[in-house]
Amino acid sequence: MLRFLIHRVLQMIPVLFFVSVIIFVLINLVPGDAARLFLGEEASPEALAALRHQLGLDRPLYVQYLRWVGGMLHGDFGHSFKDNRPVLPTLLEKVPATGELTAAALVIAWTIAIPAGVFAAWRRRTTGDYLASALALLGLSVPSFWSGIMLIYLLAVHLRWLPASGLTPFAQDAVGNLRALIMPATVLGVAQAAVVMRQLRSSMLEVLSADFVRTANAKGLADRAVLTRHALRNAVIPVITVMGIQMGTLLGGAVITEAIFAIPGLGRLAVDSIYSRDYQVLEGVVMFSALAILMINLFVDAVYSLVDPRIHLAGGRS
C-alpha cells in the first residue's frame, strides 16, 4: 500500500505540471487586458504600462510562467489584481463553503441513489423500477438554475422555512449553517443522485445475472443478503469511480448553485476571476481543483482494493 501511495503521489507531479501549462496558455489566449479591466477605461497609456510592469505582464510568457510556478513551489500563489490580497488565503477561505456543500450534496445523493439503484435492479421491469428510473431522468434533466429558484420561491419566499441565500460559517452558527445548506445541497444532490442511481442499477443488473448469484439464491440465501452481501459489493466498483468523479467535480465549485444561493465558494471565485481577468486567482483555483481531483482519484483507487480483494495495487503479482 505504501509503495502504491508513493508511486501515485510521484505520478501527480507531471500531471499537475501539464495542467499548469495548459491553464496558463488558455488564460493568456483569452482576449481582454487585465490591466485595462483593472484600471478602467480612464487609464492613460502610461498608467497601463506601469501597471503591466508592476504585475509582470510585460515579460515574455515563459518568464511569467516560470515566476508563477516558482512562486507556487514556495507557497506563494500570487496576488489578486483587484485588491492585492494573496491568492492562497483567498482560496482557503472558500474551501469550507465548497467542502460543506459538496459533502452535504453527496450525502443526499448517495442516500437516495444507493437504495434506489439496488431496488430498481432488484425489481427490474416493474412499476417500481420504471418509477425510479423516471425520477432519475427527471433529476438529471432539470437544470439547477431552475430547480434552485423554484425551491427558493417555495421554501423561502412562500413558506419562509429556510433562508434564501448565504452560508454562515458552521463555527459561527451551526443551526443557521445547516438550514442554509439544505436547499443548495438538495439541488446539487438530486442531480448527482440520478447519475449514481443509474450507474448502480446497470451494474447491479449485470452482477445479478452472474452465476454466483444464482448459486447464492439456490443455496436459499435471503434476497436481502444476496443483494447486499454479494451483489452490491461486486457491482459497486464502477459506481465508486462515478462517485469519485462527482466528488472531484463538486470540489471544483458548483458555479450555478453558488450563484443562485449566493454561497461564497470556489465556483463563484472562479467565475468572478474569469470575468475580471484576475489571472493569478483563476490559476490558483484551477490548480487547486486539479490537485483535489488527483487526491480523490488516489483515494478512490485505494478504496477499490478494500472493496474487492482481487484488485491489487501497485504492480506486483496478480
Binding site: E42, G148, V157, S276
Partner: protein, 512 residues
C-alpha cells in the same frame, strides 16, 4: 459674493431640513441588508473602476458636494463654494468638526492630500481624467481650499459628487499605500468592519458622524447576488432589505405585486442617467459609409423598443442626454421609423438589396431581446444583422480596438452632460471611450467649448447643435434611456431615490 451667501443659506436650509427629517421619526438601531448586482472589487474610491463600488462608498465616504433627487448640487463636506469670474478658480469652504473614522481631523490639508493622491503619477489612480484640468489644489486656511484649473471646467462640481470628491483619511492612506482598499477609512456615516470577497461587506455606525441624528442604522451589510432572479427572491423572502438593480423584464410583475394589499415590498421608479445604443465602427465597412449608417438608423422604431420590448421600463432615446438630466431637451423630436427613407439611403449607397453586418452583445436577457428586435426591424429593409454574443470583457476589448462592425453597449451616465458625450464623440486620448472611431472637428470644437462655459443654458444650446450633427452622421445609434428602479422591503423607511442610482443610507431607518 451674493452667490456665496445664497449657497451658504441653501446649505443651511438643506442641512436644517435634513435634520428635521431625521429628528422626525427615525427609529434607532437595526441592521440593513443591501443586495448588490455584483461583488464590489475595490474599497478605494481613487482606484475604483466598477460602478457597484460606488454603492458601498455612499456609506463609507462623504464627498465634497452631493446631488439631491433633483440633481441640484448640495453641500456635504464643503458647505459653500465660489467660482471666480474667469472660471479658473474654485474655492471651497469646508465643514468644521468632521473627523475621519480613525480620528484624523478633516480639514483643508486633508483635501489637498486627497487631490494630490488622485493626481500622483506614481499612484494607480483611476480618477485622473475626471480631474484632468486641475492644475493646483492649495489650502488657503485650515478650512478653505482653492482649486486652480488650467481652463474653465464646468463639469467639475458634478465630478466632485462622485468618487473624485470622496475624501479618504490621509493618515490611513499614507500608512497603507496601495493596500488602503483593504482597510478603508473615510468620514462617512458608517465605518468599515470587514469585507469577505464574494460574500459580504459589513459596515457599522459611525457614532461621531457630523450629520446630527444620523445614521439611524447600527449596521449595513452589502451582499452580492449575481443572479437576477435570486436577488429579487431574496427581497421577497425577507433575507435582504433593498437591492440596487432590478432586472427590467421583471419590473411589470413586481409593480403589480407591490401594489397588492399586504405586500411586503415596494418598487420605486425614477428616470436615470444611463443611455443605451449601438456603436457603429466608422473606420471600416460597412459603416464607414454614412448612407448605410443612416439607412440602418431609419429602420429602428424606438417607441416599440422602449414600450413593447422593454415594457415601458425605459424612455426612447435620440441623444446622449436622458430625460430629466440638465442637458435634456424636451423639444428635440425622436424620428419615427421610416422604412422608405431607409430604402432610399440604401439605394443612394448602391446597396438596394441591403447589406449584412455583425452586432456584438453580451449574454444579458434584456440586451438580447433588444438586439433581436432591432434585427427584425432592420431585416424589413433588407439589412441582415447577425447577433454575436460575447463575454463582457471581450466586448470591451474588441470595441476599444475598433475591431467590430457594431456593438450594443451603453453608458451608466453621469449627472453632468459633459461626461455623457465628451469621451465618446471626441478623440480625447486618455479616458476616451470612443468606440466608434468618429472624429469630427466641429463636434470636437463645440464640445471643448461647452466645457469652458459655466452657464447650463448656454451649454444646452451647444449640446443641441452637437446632437443635430450626430443625428445626421450617426456614429452611434441611440436606442433607449433605462429607468432606474429600487426594490425594497416595506420595513425600510426614509429612503430617497436619487437618479444616480446610488443608495444613500444616512436618513434610512427600519420599521419593526
Amino acid at each position: 459674493m451674493r452667490r456665496e451667501v445664497a449657497l451658504v443659506l441653501a446649505g443651511v436650509m438643506v442641512a436644517g431640513l435634513l435634520s428635521a427629517a431625521l429628528a422626525q421619526g427615525g427609529r434607532r438601531g437595526g441592521t440593513l441588508r443591501a443586495g448588490l448586482d455584483s461583488d464590489p472589487p475595490n474599497m478605494d474610491p481613487h482606484r475604483s473602476t466598477a460602478a457597484v463600488d460606488r454603492q458601498v462608498y455612499q456609506s463609507l465616504y462623504d464627498k465634497l458636494v452631493d446631488t439631491d433627487q433633483n440633481l441640484t448640487i448640495v453641500p456635504m463636506l464643503a458647505i459653500s463654494w465660489t467660482i471666480s469670474p474667469d472660471g479658473k478658480t474654485v474655492t471651497f469652504v469646508l465643514r468644521r468638526g468632521v473627523k475621519f473614522h480613525d480620528g484624523t481631523p478633516f480639514n483643508a490639508e486633508a483635501v489637498v492630500y486627497n487631490f494630490d493622491r488622485m493626481r500622483d503619477p506614481n499612484f494607480p489612480s483611476a480618477r485622473r481624467s475626471e480631474i484632468g484640468p486641475i492644475q493646483k489644489v492649495a489650502a488657503v486656511d485650515p478650512y478653505t481650499v482653492q482649486i486652480t484649473l488650467e481652463r474653465p471646467y464646468s463639469p467639475l462640481l458634478y465630478v466632485l459628487t462622485d468618487r473624485a470628491g470622496m475624501m479618504v483619511s490621509p493618515a490611513a492612506a499614507q500608512k497603507e499605500g496601495t493596500d488602503f482598499a483593504l482597510h478603508p477609512v473615510g468620514t462617512g456615516a458608517f465605518r468599515f468592519v470587514e469585507k469577505i470577497p464574494q460574500d459580504h461587506v459589513t459596515l457599522e455606525r459611525n457614532p461621531d458622524y457630523w450629520m446630527r441624528g444620523a445614521p439611524y442604522l447600527d449596521r449595513v451589510i452589502y451582499r452580492p447576488f449575481t443572479d437576477d432572479n435570486a436577488r429579487v427572491a431574496n427581497v421577497k423572502s425577507g433575507d435582504v432589505d433593498i437591492i440596487n438593480i432590478v432586472p427590467l423584464p421583471q419590473v411589470k410583475e413586481l409593480a403589480k405585486e407591490a401594489a397588492e394589499p399586504g405586500a411586503r415590498f415596494r418598487l420605486l421608479e425614477h428616470g436615470a442617467f444611463q443611455w443605451q445604443g449601438i456603436y457603429l465602427n466608422v473606420t471600416k465597412p460597412p459603416f464607414d459609409n454614412k448612407l448605410l449608417r443612416q439607412a440602418f438608423n431609419a429602420t429602428i422604431d424606438r417607441d416599440v423598443i422602449a414600450n413593447v420590448v422593454l415594457q415601458g421600463t425605459a424612455y426612447p432615446a435620440y441623444s446622449y442626454f436622458p430625460n430629466g438630466t440638465p442637458a435634456y431637451d424636451p423639444a428635440w423630436k425622436i424620428p419615427p421609423r421610416n422604412l422608405a427613407l431607409a430604402r432610399e439611403k440604401l439605394q443612394a449607397a448602391g446597396q438596394a438589396g441591403g447589406f449584412a453586418f455583425t452586432l456584438l452583445t453580451v449574454p444579458n436577457q434584456q440586451q438580447q431581446e433588444v438586439a433581436q428586435a432591432v434585427q427584425a426591424m432592420a431585416a424589413e429593409a433588407g439589412i441582415r444583422m447577425n447577433i454575436q454574443i460575447v463575454e463582457f470583457g471581450t466586448l470591451l476589448d474588441t470595441l476599444d480596438h475598433l475591431q467590430h462592425q457594431a456593438g450594443l453597449l451603453g453608458w451608466s451616465g453621469r449627472p453632468d452632460p459633459d461626461f455623457d458625450i465628451y469621451p465618446f464623440m471626441t478623440q480625447a486620448g486618455i479616458g476616451s471611450f470612443n468606440d466608434t472611431g468618429y472624429a469630427d472637428p466641429k463636434v470636437q470644437t463645440l464640445l471643448d467649448a461647452a466645457r469652458l462655459l459655466n452657464d447650463m443654458a448656454q451649454r444646452r444650446r451647444i449640446y443641441r447643435q452637437v446632437t443635430e450633427i450626430l443625428a445626421d452622421d450617426i456614429p452611434y445609434v441611440w436606442l433607449y434611456f433605462p429607468k432606474e428602479y429600487k426594490l425594497l422591503s416595506t420595513k425600510v423607511q426614509g429612503f430617497v431615490q436619487v437618479p444616480d442610482g446610488m443608495m444613500r443610507f444616512q436618513p434610512v431607518w427600519l420599521a419593526p
